[in-house]
Amino acid sequence: MWLPISAARWRRWAFLLVTALALPAKAEDSQEVVLWHSYRAGEAEALDAAVDGFRRDNPEIRVRVLQVPYGAYPQKLRTAIPQGAGPDLFIAPNDHLRDFIERELIAPPSGVDVTRFDPRLNAALTLKDAQWGYPLAYKALVLFYRKDMVEAPPATTDDLIAIARRLTAAGRYGFVYQAGIPYYHAPWLFGFGGRFFDGETLLPFESPAAIASGDFLRRLTFEEKVTPVDVQGALVTELFNRGRAAMVMNGPWFVSEIAADVPWAVAPLPVVSETGLAARPFASLDVLYRSAKASPSPGVRALSDALTSDAAALTRAKVGRQPVANVAVMHDPIVEGDQLLAMQARQLAATEPLPTEPVMQLAWHPYESALRQIQRGTKSPEAAFREATKRVQVLARPLPKEASLRNYVLAALVAVVVGLGVALRRMRRGTLAEVRSSGTAYAFIAPAALGMLLLVGVPFLMGVGLGFFEYEGTQLRFVGLGNFASILGSSDYSPLSPMSFYFTMVVTVLWTVSNIALHVGLGFALALLLQPTWLRGRGIFRVLLILPWAIPNYITALIFKGLFNTQLGAINALLVSVGFSPVSWFDGFVPAFAANLTTNVWLGFPFMMVTILGALQAIPADLYEAARVDGAGPWRRFTSITLPLVGPALVPSVVLGTIWTFNMFNVVFLVSEGQPEGATEILVTEAYRWAFMRNGRYGYAAAYSLVIFAILLLYSALTKRLLAGRAAAEAT
Amino acid sequence: MASIDLKTVTKRYGDVTIVDGISLSIADGELVVLVGPSGCGKSTLLRMVAGLLAPTSGSIHIGGRDVTHLAPGDRDIAMVFQSYALYPHMTVRENIAFPLAVRRRPRAEIDGRVNDVADMLGLRHLLDRRPRDLSGGQRQRVAMGRAVVREPAVFLFDEPLSNLDAALRTRMRAEIAELHARLGATMIYVTHDQHEAMTLADRIVLLDKGHIEQQGAPLELYQRPRTQFAGEFMGSPSMNLLPVDKRNDALASPHVRVDRGALRLTTWEQLPEQLVLGVRPEAFRLADHAGAPHRLDVQVAWIERTGSDSFVHGKAGETPVVARVSAAEGERLQAGGTVTLAFETLSVFERDSGQAVAHC
């Protein structure tokens, strides 16, 4: 443990450590402009190039650029900006526009003449007589096709199906896109004359046009089978590059993924034959926003201007191959000569603005479920969309009614007084003297207790408190037990529906129990296998088997998600190679649950294995010898010696493992993502969705978390009682 | 060098009283052995003297100084534990040096004293080993070394020999006695082994159920037990206890008879009706010897021959009896037979209270 490091080296390390820790928390500099974005690859390079240009021209202004990982971006914006710790400017898509406005995260920017942008894009960002951001680039789905397979792109959907049918063969598809995702279905919906949101009523999912678009999807995937199901971005790329997809509907980002040797071209989306309307994709925007906390300082204005200038736009178009929003650049010969960018500009004429209503944030997930069911043919479009509407209504349930804070405070006070009274009564006489004489003990505990109190206790109490409130915009409103009533009352839906708290709870319990059983079972089996002294290479086996523990669980989860992919995944390939048919892992509850379970068992068994190994080693060998002399066979020795002696050693690990598994967020969230229809969701992932993916119902999520806490508390109290009971029974 | 004074020391845990108001004075340089059955409170008492436990009430003085509220390290005491409590990660040298190192003594002084102690205890060649590489006896010696090196005023021993085999125990006992003689330090020695108590002690303090049953010089306890419990506890094999009734001319039962005349008791009249005779095994002779006034009939069950002596195990009616006779006498006996034993010295206890009423 204690590394032999010389004094000189110690000093060097100490120096490094001190410098790393002592970096100033914040360099207050009025001339500093902070810009956040979540671009990567070419787009990030293009942005950096534009910023570099700005730095050269404005050396007095310091620009600090931060590339925030996409996964943490929205949450970070929502948390940081109200605290004044956010950026001055940030780049984000326009789908959260209204949410940003309601939360007061953004303010209308200034310093830029907006006539340089395409007016359609300006219009998409204008609300309540103000323009809330500057469009940097837009993205619209277009049709990519392989020139070696498709001579002329289809003009109509009938053409599309005809060509696709001709090119579809074993392992090859005529037309590939991520059909399960609403963003990719939108062109059909609009092409059939449908709408997502009509301003007044909620989501006309069930309109005849919407159902017709659903029928079309069903035709592509289920009847004609020219389009594969369960498609993810990586699969689209894969199939296209390998000549196993002739046509692909995708956005401009796709171009960087196409292999160099593939002859490709782009075309506008076809006209829907049934209606004669063009299939209109969403125009999603990359927007430069000004944080509501940032003053419109000269630096901020100058950077806004520079980033949105025609020159910068041209750089972004060339380096990042972005379809930029500047009118002048759209007509630049270089851009017009780029077939992708030219086609984006052409497609822009036939797009729909991305809906920014908060209710749409709730709609994506149910809508996605509906699309998946339609593709697979498990539900008719009517039924699937009706279900989706219902789910959106449930998710968009009104906030609980405001409650009287005074009554609750009074009740809480009474509870505290009664609690204190009981505590005082239960305190034995002389407790005070004991407290006084336990100074040393308290001194030893103090550092940990202080840390826990501050960093776990305080946030915990804040979370508990929040469960009794709900946000309305930026205002906290006291709702008393309203959130709990809504969760536990299960009033909007049957307890048997996957939307219900009770359904999720049963799934969570099932999840926990099956995990722990498999962790312990597999751990025990492997520990026993690793135990015998004649085994060679024990060390190597042990090291390799512990390995899953060392790898961050989100990496594991993402890798397993890939392995379980229906088309590309290694697991299906393995099944096929031994003669089974491939499984659509995330279409049914059982396979999806199994996929989650497999991932988490892979992650979790080493901990149990190591614990059991330790316990096995602690069993004295003469016990086994005695049993052998007594004539006990291997099985008898296992059940009469190994099990009873290892069992107690396992109890703490099992209790802890239960708590960890119960709250194992990453696996469920990243592997099955709750599919199908939210059925494999567990309580923590539900709480997370409420907090961060359903219009930020923090209060509801906090109440959810509190319920989780209560369940686990009950569990630990029960196990404690059970164990105490067993110990007492053994003692008598 | 110091005397020790305990004044009505009590230790209670909730409703359970472990040590019940014990007062005890120990003179400077005296070796007192606390002895008693397990649960009698002897270890608790020792730990309170050491400062490892705080008394519920009462006070403890060492060398005239009230140490009741002092930390163990400030009491000028050293303690040897039953488990030796050697620090497993330290060498023998470091173990012995630890009390000095804690007190920040100069390096040279520590080295010198550790070497002296090691020489005294024959540990010189073991100084760089770790405790796990030592035998039981060696560990025991290291534990003593760690106590001795500080030259404390008081030594406390908590059953230090109970983890050793019989031969080693005898030797270590001798060494402790020698140590006591050489250092002249005050010592409190806790054991449950009356043999150890007898051989080591200047004074034995016999404890039972949290109070002092009897204290005094070893022989006094052995010969004049104040209670039936004291008589039974001291001595091995145990004192034989024979229930008898007082008659006009004798104390008797169907198997035993002690004539009034031979007892030469001046207090015969005050004797209660129901009594128990306590007779040490070595007090018996075969009855054919002349001059033994008291007699006991024993059904012999078996004879344990140790070579030097023979122990006769048998029963007088329902009462088990053990008698030590010479090897030659033992040769003449046979299991299954009946033998009449004669004895001279005995203690008489009142049957109800267990109090001794006479020693003859």
Binding site: L16, T440, L526, I546, P548, Y624 | A71, M79, R146
Partner: protein, 282 residues
């Protein structure tokens, strides 16, 4: 059980172990193949093609510079080491002292204290992030390595305290008492007698604290707002974007991020076996 069982039993055991190990290693192998293959996505895993071999992903992850041309990987590696190391050191300090008190003293609040250490971690961590953000902001520790160290040091604390207490319970209290009589203070007994004897448990605590801190992503990404302060997992997640992911780079990053922890596991695995369960067995 010194004697060797029949040949077929041994062969079976070897076969079973080998099969399990292969199954367990497969995802690791998948990551490795993706990290060094030019093709995007998962299909290369089953048919690794030497022609697609490339070190570009690894190079990209290792050599990225920020917008001001600074070598990010080196900086962020140092950050990760400082954060994980600091959290480990602080975690050990907090866990061992608290566990010592729980193991050696009986005091009012003893049972409640132990229980609360277990209970407190039942509240879902995802809901702690926003309150923690506010807290760090109030303490002026937002966007600092120190803030992250402090937060991480308490994450694994409940488990570590529980485990350390179990281990301390197996160390005879005679040793404490002997040292007390020898004149040592409680503090001295703690660091000079007890800590050296608890090395296996300390190793496990260290491993756990390090693992937790090293791998954490969400809090690091939320609390840190300067590229030069990011830890490696934050950088790793840059390769997963809104419109798909760069799986090659992600795999390469995963490989690099996982290596230090794996090495630590290899180094400490012996202690791990004893340290984890010692407290529970005796």
């Amino acid at each position: 059980m010194t004697e060797r069982p029949a040949l077929w039993v041994r062969a079976g055991a070897y076969a079973l172990l080998t099969l399990t190990t292969i199954a367990v290693m497969f995802p690791v192998y998948a990551v490795a193949v993706m990290a060094v293959s030019r093709a995007p996505g998962f299909s290369v895993v089953l048919s690794p093609d030497p022609a697609l071999f490339t070190l570009d992903h690894l190079r990209k992850f290792l050599l990225t510079t920020d917008s001001e041309g600074r070598w990010l990987f080196g900086r962020q590696l140092l950050n990760s080491i400082v954060v994980a190391g600091g959290a480990t050191a602080l975690g050990i300090l907090l866990a061992t002292t608290a566990a010592y008190a729980f193991s050696r003293f009986r005091f009012p609040g003893h049972r409640a204290g132990i229980a609360s250490f277990v209970i407190i971690q039942m509240f879902p961590a995802t809901m702690m992030i926003v309150p923690l953000y506010l807290l760090l902001s109030a303490l002026g520790l937002l966007d600092t390595i120190t803030g992250l160290i402090v937060v991480y040091s308490t994450t694994a604390l409940p488990f570590c305290v529980w485990m350390m207490k179990g281990y301390f319970d197996t160390i005879p209290t005679d040793l404490d008492e002997a040292a007390l009589v020898d004149g040592a203070s409680r503090l001295r007994i703690f660091y000079q007698i007890i800590l050296p004897l608890a090395r296996p448990a300390i190793a496990v605590t260290a491993l756990f604290s390090f693992l937790t801190a090293w791998n954490e992503f969400v809090m690091a990404a939320t609390f840190l707002s300067r590229e030069e302060k990011f830890t490696l997992p934050v950088t790793l997640f840059r390769h997963v974007g809104a419109y798909g992911a760069d799986w090659g780079a992600f795999a390469a990053g995963s490989l690099i991020v996982s290596i230090p922890v794996c090495l630590l596991f290899f180094a400490l695995q012996r202690q791990l076996v004893g340290g984890l369960s010692a407290g529970a067995v005796k």
